[in-house]
């Protein structure tokens, strides 16, 4: 049903843009959307495609950019990592899009990196990730570890008094890197090694009985215990269900999650989860007019009164507006000019503040800690006093401590080593090497 509607909408938008094009002197600005619409990641990525389409519609209604209309070019990489690279090539080489909004998983981003660098494209990546990367052609509008994981741990340590830590994650690059950073950070803060328990589970893990029982006994050592969860998407539902069934409440052992948002909660009965935490840079429940307007717009766009918004959607909102501002500033959609112009651009976020693009291609974000409520929403219980700038290279990993990224001239480098004074390989080269 929705597909029909989308097609209809898409057609009418197309018709509209075609008719407007006839009037406009120039060709439309082509916006590539590289999100999986089928396969395992469709659950998370389809809403992001819809978000970008909605933003484009709105921008066009306001007259487009530089008097030109915007046009969405949607491709479906089908949750298939190598296909992401092919589709990115198709977008850049064949469709000649001016900018791409896309990717969710880190492997898909790594697969796309060499292509975007080779063909000098622009990619806005909207999801929180493990950091350790800064590409000339990529803008990271999601959180780096210092914008999500570290502040969340600080909150637990200082406000809740947690002394014993369970780092539970799905077995892939984001949780592994994040947990490595957190482990070093916790040990630096004086937490003993036996007070840290690290656990990895496969993708889509559904049998949590043993692990939850382990966490329960780990938590009965007389010190306040918390679980820091980097468990990915789907596996969270049975995990929380098991917590509830084994009688672990948020006041006993709180779980703070980095990958559980409104979208994930919309698939569960949240009753037993009330009080567990999540750290994000945006919650749907944030009390600001910008947010309420965005939600109204989203509900109207989807036609679903129950539609939820989430953090990566806000990241696209920010990224899209930053791109628009940068194009206006540069006066052209030329990739190099936009890359130059976008650094320092500042646009409103949805939490009532501003987000600025930093020289390392990461943005400033407030960090919010929210508690799960019985309506599948989060209520904000704590936030950083000011926004935090994303750090591409973590200070808590031995290899990356000395690296900085700065895409302004004269440095113009994503892997500058402050000790040796040399610029390392580009992110795309590194990704290509890893793939081999």
């Amino acid at each position: 049903m929705t597909i029909k509607k989308h097609v209809k909408l898409g057609l009418s938008a197309l018709a509209l843009s075609v008719s407007l094009n006839a009037m406009a002197a120039e060709d439309p600005i082509k916006v590539g959307i590289l999100h999986s619409l089928s396969g395992t990641m469709a659950i998370s990525e389809t809403v992001l495609k819809d978000t970008v389409e909605m933003l484009i519609e709105k921008q066009n209604a306001e007259g487009g950019v530089l008097g030109r209309q915007l046009e969405a070019v949607v491709v479906d990489p089908a949750s298939n990592w190598p296909l992401f690279a092919e589709k990115a090539r198709e977008l850049l080489a064949k469709e000649e899009v001016d900018v791409i909004f896309g990717n969710w998983t880190s492997v898909s981003r790594k697969s796309v990196l060499p292509v975007v660098e080779e063909l000098n494209g622009l990619l806005f990546y909207p999801v929180q990730y493990e950091g350790e990367e800064s590409s000339e052609n990529v803008f990271y509008t999601g959180a780096a570890p210092n914008q999500q994981a570290i502040p969340a741990v600080n909150y637990l340590m200082n406000e809740i008094g947690v002394e014993r830590w369970v780092l539970a994650g799905t077995d892939y690059v984001y949780p592994r890197t994040t947990n490595k950073i957190l482990e070093t950070y916790l040990m630096d803060m004086g937490v003993a090694k036996e007070d840290i328990m690290i656990n990895y589970t496969p993708f889509g893990h559904s049998d949590w009985q043993n692990i939850v029982s382990d966490i329960k006994s780990f938590g009965s050592a007389g010190k306040k215990t918390a679980v820091v969860s980097t468990i990915n998407g789907d596996a969270n539902v049975p995990f929380y269900r098991e917590l509830g069934n084994q009688g672990i409440s948020a006041s006993d052992i709180p779980v703070v999650a980095f990958s559980v948002g409104e979208q994930e909660l919309s698939g569960i009965d949240t009753g037993p989860l009330v009080g567990h935490l999540a750290a994000w840079n945006y919650f749907m429940s944030v009390d600001s007019d910008a947010n309420y307007d965005f939600i109204d717009q989203w509900v109207a766009h989807t036609g679903d009164e129950e539609a939820v918004t989430n953090d990566p959607m806000e990241a696209h909102y920010i990224g899209f507006n930053m791109y628009v501002e940068a194009v206006k500033k540069a006066g052209t959609t030329d990739v190099d000019a936009v890359k130059d112009a976008i650094i320092g651009v500042s646009v409103p976020n949805l939490t009532g503040g501003y987000a600025a693009m930093m020289p390392n291609h990461h943005i400033t974000k407030p960090v919010l800690i929210g508690e799960i409520q019985d309506n599948g929403q989060f209520s904000v219980v704590w936030e950083t006093p000011s926004t935090v700038a994303g750090d591409a290279w973590s200070d808590y990993l031995p290899g990356s401590r000395d690296l900085i990224a700065d895409w302004r001239k004269p440095l113009f480098c994503g892997t500058f080593n402050t000790v040796t004074g040399k610029c390392g390989a580009s992110a795309g080269q590194m990704a290509a090497e890893e793939a081999e």
Binding site: A42, T46, G267, D374, S379
Partner: protein
């Protein structure tokens, strides 16, 4: 915590005030109390709660409960505090906390939630538990006494001791004593260690663990000994728990695989869309719950026949449209059914939604059966375990005792001979495939209670299903049961020391090696049928 001190006051006041009618709204003292709570900065919230508790207002409990559940909001314009009855969507249904009168819907923009966090919620739980200690139902008293464990502080000791004097129920007495002992051990009381020595409650263990680290050598030693005995008992419980976990995982495997044991095992069709038939069953449960809002239990029970029918119908369609034309060509069947599985997944994504759907667990299935403080068996998994056994028994009965079963066995053993005896082989094929698919649907209904209901549900189980069927011996239902349960148990035994990822790998390697040694699985088909 000075809040608690005033509790006794409140309790007395409650009784005396209950009979009084609600006074006029404007000079209602509740209005000021709630406004005070809503406007208090974080540091003064405790004081505001304290004021509400000591006011002795009979509505206090309701207010505090609403506050604890995040249901207290303030209208931005007027500053009036309201209770949110329904906080879904963009418009919230609100009510007046003073009169209980429904005030209709209000836009979320107009409302400001009264903030609460885990720390305050913990205190509130203590207060509410203290109130519940006076409930008439001993189960409520026991639960609230248990909630008090680890939350007792100096101000609570006196009211708790007073309560202990009055208490007649032995279980509740034990709980209160333990709660008090946890506090006393924390204060360095050596005698109290004895009370905790036999307790398996995690908070008792936490208190003893803390005592072991204390400066008093006598206390530390005694606590250490008490912990030793507890650890002994725990080991036993832990073993029982692991066994239960194993059987439960095993039952999930059996459920997922048993339909395949019929389509693949008995008929020899490699059906890669088996997982999606499971998914259809799970979606049927969701659909049923949408049709019968507010009655998740009834919907779940009705889903059992409905899930069977939906999946069986889908099975018949697949069999008629594709599989019958590919008889005896396993590779093509595999590829074709794999295609069907992708089609079904995408169909669900486009028709329903790529998002997971919420399937509610009925009350009688949530929570756990508490054997003791260290051993509790989760109810939903116990139901699934029972369900798996019932489905298995029913299938056995069908295969062994009914005409259909006889015909199925005849056709699979010697198709031509069966046909010459007057059995309509094509019809039997359809029935068998429908039966196997229907059972997959039943598995989906059960799985909807344990895992996500989404388009990817089936994928997670297809590999496991084939693994179980092959390991158990193709064509043998008993083999599937034994293989499922034993693989589940092995997996759960390995998991604590190998980790979830490695445990899965070890099990897989084990099966590969096993199949090398015994290619026909645990229980190979014997007799002439095996050669055919």
């Amino acid at each position: 915590m000075s809040i608690i001190r005033s509790l006794t006051l409140l309790l007395i006041a409650l009784v005396s005030l209950w009979s009084l009618p609600a006074s006029a709204q404007d000079d209602d003292p509740g209005k000021a109390l709630l406004a005070n709570l809503a406007e208090a900065p974080a540091s003064n919230v405790e004081e505001a709660i304290n004021a509400i508790v000591s006011s002795g207002d009979p509505r206090a409990r309701g207010w505090l409960e609403a506050y604890g559940n995040n249901r207290l909001s303030r209208i931005k314009d007027t500053g009036q505090v309201v209770v949110v009855l329904n906080n879904r969507g963009r418009d919230w249904e609100i009510a007046n906390p003073l009169t209980g009168e429904n005030m209709g819907d209000m836009s979320r923009r107009e409302l400001d939630r009264v903030a609460i966090n885990n720390a305050i919620r913990g205190q509130l739980e203590g207060i509410l538990a203290m109130l519940d200690l006076n409930a008439a139902d001993p189960h409520v008293r026991e639960a609230s006494a248990q909630d008090m464990m680890g939350k007792v502080d100096a101000s609570l000791v006196e009211p708790l001791e007073a309560r202990l004097e009055l208490e007649e129920n032995a279980n509740v007495r034990n709980r209160i004593e333990e709660a008090l002992a946890i506090y006393r051990v924390g204060e360095g009381d050596i005698e109290a260690v004895d009370v905790l020595a036999g307790s398996l409650h995690p908070r008792a263990r936490a208190a003893l663990n803390q005592a072991v680290r204390s400066d008093d050598p006598v206390l530390a030693k005694k606590a250490g000994q008490a912990l030793g005995t507890i650890e002994q008992k725990l080991k036993l419980n832990r073993a029982a728990e692991t066994l239960y976990f194993g059987l439960s995982l095993g039952s999930v495997l059996v459920l997922a695989a048993i339909g395949l044991a019929i389509t693949f095992g008995v008929m020899g069709v490699i059906n890669m869309a088996h997982g999606e038939l499971i998914m259809l069953g799970a979606y049927t449960t969701w659909g049923m719950q949408q049709l019968l809002p507010g009655q998740p239990g009834l919907a779940l029970i009705l889903s059992i026949p409905a899930g069977f029918l939906v999946a069986a119908t889908a099975g018949i369609i697949i069999e008629r449209s594709v599989i019958q034309y590919l008889k005896g060509r396993p590779l093509e069947t595999l590829l074709a059914t794999f295609g069907i599985s992708l089609i079904l997944q995408q169909l669900v994504r486009t028709v329903i939604s790529p998002q997971n759907r919420t399937v509610v667990t009925p009350d009688w299935m949530s929570g756990s059966l508490v054997i003791n403080d260290a051993l509790s068996l989760t109810l939903n998994r116990m139901y699934v375990l029972g369900f798996a056994l019932v489905v298995f028994a029913a299938l056995m009965l069908i295969m062994r005792k009914t005409r259909l079963g006889l015909e199925v066995r005849a056709v699979t053993q010697n198709r031509n001979m069966a046909r010459s005896m007057g059995i309509r082989a094509t019809r039997v094929d359809i029935m068998t495939f429908a039966l196997g698919s229907g059972v997959a649907g039943l598995a989906g209904v059960a799985l909807s209670q344990l895992t996500n209901v989404g388009p990817n549900l089936g994928q997670n189980y297809i590999i496991d299903s084939f693994m179980v069927v092959v390991f158990g011996g193709v064509g043998n239902l008993w083999g599937t049961l034994i293989a499922g349960l034993s693989l589940g148990t092995i997996n759960q035994l390995l998991e604590p020391w190998a980790g979830a990822v490695l445990a899965k790998i070890i099990v897989l390697v084990f099966i590969i090696l096993f199949i090398q040694k015994r290619p026909k699985g645990l229980f190979p088909q014997k007799g002439r049928a095996a050669e055919g």
